[in-house]
Symmetry: C2
């Protein structure tokens, strides 16, 4: 791995709510080194930024290169963000406010840094390096605690006024439907996120309709992992399978609405639960979406499962830094 002679390297950084990760790439995006640690946002901004810097330094050590071999740093982080100024405006799950992250990294490592929304970075990663390579237009839909989304149109991340957009999870799909975390009703993520699925699963376990799930985790929603759900489906918890098919059908409605609007070539589904049950999600999302798109659009798009897994945000952020700084794609 050691490349003392490497030039034009990029750092991709994934700043998550619980963990952070730095990955060092060479100019053709081979991994030269990496480092991961816990985020510990509650210890405050200054402590957190020190942890970010140490993680980058140790990834550079792992890659055996020095800071002056880096052309740029890309960071994927939770929003809302001021993309032009490189500022994390207010990050509730870290407790950080008004953090001038890009400037800080620039001062520290002597190279330009850009920030992007974590989901956007992941979608960009799939566009550059993963399931949607060379797509004219790709939309990512990532069900997790909510449902994140992003769009790369003709090589560029679609963005809002100052920050990220493509809030797929807050498309209203059920008029006067279940209450959503955002305070509105009937949003897609209120009926189809991994959290909505988990909550339906524990209700089924409580009723006695999901014996494997009940045996595995009882009825405590905080104990459910994507792997738990997948293994209970495989073990024969039919109700759990139906819950997922139902949720995936709603996601298909969201996908159909997106296809009718922006007509992407590729829809990438991602996140831990999708990657644990790729066949089930692909089948139901595609079926539901194809039933609902305009007839003329029926053959214009494909649905695919994300390929980069846990590296998508870091790799996409590094690729986005390269695109932003050098115009590559």
């Amino acid at each position: 791995m050691a490349k003392k002679s490497a030039k034009d390297c990029f750092i991709g950084f994934d700043l998550g709510g619980t963990k952070m990760m730095a990955v060092v790439y060479d100019g053709t995006f081979n991994v030269l080194g990496r480092r991961k640690r816990k985020t510990k946002g509650a210890e405050g901004v200054e402590s957190g930024l020190t942890r970010v810097s140490r993680t980058i330094e140790e990834a550079l050590e792992d890659a055996d290169i020095s800071a002056d071999q880096i052309t740029g740093i890309g960071v994927g982080c939770p929003g809302p963000l001021d993309l032009d100024k490189g500022i994390m405006i207010d990050t509730p799950n870290l407790g950080w406010k008004n953090v001038k992250l890009a400037q800080r990294l620039k001062d520290e490592f002597g190279c330009p840094a850009v920030i992007a929304n974590d989901v956007d970075a992941g979608v960009y990663g799939e566009y550059r390096f993963g399931a949607a390579k060379k797509s004219r237009c790709v939309v990512g839909v990532f069900p997790g605690t909510g449902i994140g989304g992003g769009c790369v149109y003709e090589g560029r991340l679609i963005r809002g006024k100052v920050g990220s957009c493509f809030e797929v999870g807050h498309m209203q799909v059920v008029p006067d439907g279940p209450l959503c975390g955002c305070g509105k009703r009937g949003c897609l993520e209120a009926v189809a996120s991994r959290l909505a699925i988990s909550s339906a699963c524990v209700a089924a376990a409580y009723r006695g309709d999901a014996p494997h799930l009940r045996a595995a985790v009882g009825t405590d929603i905080s104990k459910i992992r994507s792997g738990t759900i997948a293994s209970c489906v495989q073990a024969g918890d039919n109700t759990v399978e139906r819950i997922i098919r139902n949720a995936a059908g709603w996601i298909g409605i969201g996908v159909a609405n997106i296809v009718n609007l922006i007509c992407p070539d590729t829809i990438v589904l991602g996140g831990g639960l999708v990657e644990a049950l790729p066949g089930l999600f692909l089948e139901e999302v595609e079926k539901s979406a194809r039933e609902r798109v305009m007839p003329a659009y029926a053959d214009t798009f494909k649905v695919a499962v994300a390929e980069l897994g846990d590296d998508s945000t870091a790799m996409g952020a590094a690729g986005w830094a390269q695109h932003t700084l050098q115009g590559n794609d």
Copy 2:
């Protein structure tokens, strides 16, 4: 108006189902001349294309300029289109198929020609010259027989694989809702187009709930014009007003979904009925949309009524030709 010395002129052409119109613009988009005639699509492609050419020639005469003073021609026409090749693929309401319109105009007038979807051209017109000037991102929503839509993002019309997109009217807003003309159920245009409004109005007239409307047009939907509906609201047909407010509320749901996705600065509402009752539509669409967008997006957009009226498609098509050929915007 006569400008024998004018250079760098553009022709904007609106090729509609019932009428066609050519407008001659100088390089700063002052109108130099115009001509309108019936389309008569049923008389066949060759006859129709001859009518197109004569209409352009007569608009040039009206402007008192010759074909060699034209830099380009932009045509807004009904889809589906192959935008790159300038071909009208299949236009049901004209009965035309595989018409190489751009090449034909180029051969005839000796200057490049581009085609655009008529609604896209109208939205682009509002972006360049009307209610959405200089918007980073504008979405047009035009309720008519269906509900047309278009999007200009950072100066460019968002497009699908080969043709237009932004089929706002086919967003599913009511699961298992009323049947739509596209064969699906619960599409926005099935509950909120001018046609859906008219159909609810004749039912109200039949029930005796819309006395002014009944007196004006009886119960025949084909007799209802946008002006009829507007004057009945003003005369006190409360049920007609409620029908419109209800439809506008649905449009607001569609607008909220669009804002949550693509976060436009400006939503332009257009079409005859909106322009006949601008206050009513603005109020209900805005209220409904602001109730449903992500809290962070509440102040990022404005809703406006189209300003170019019947000229929007021709003017937008001419502006798009200038943008495409010269990079202006």
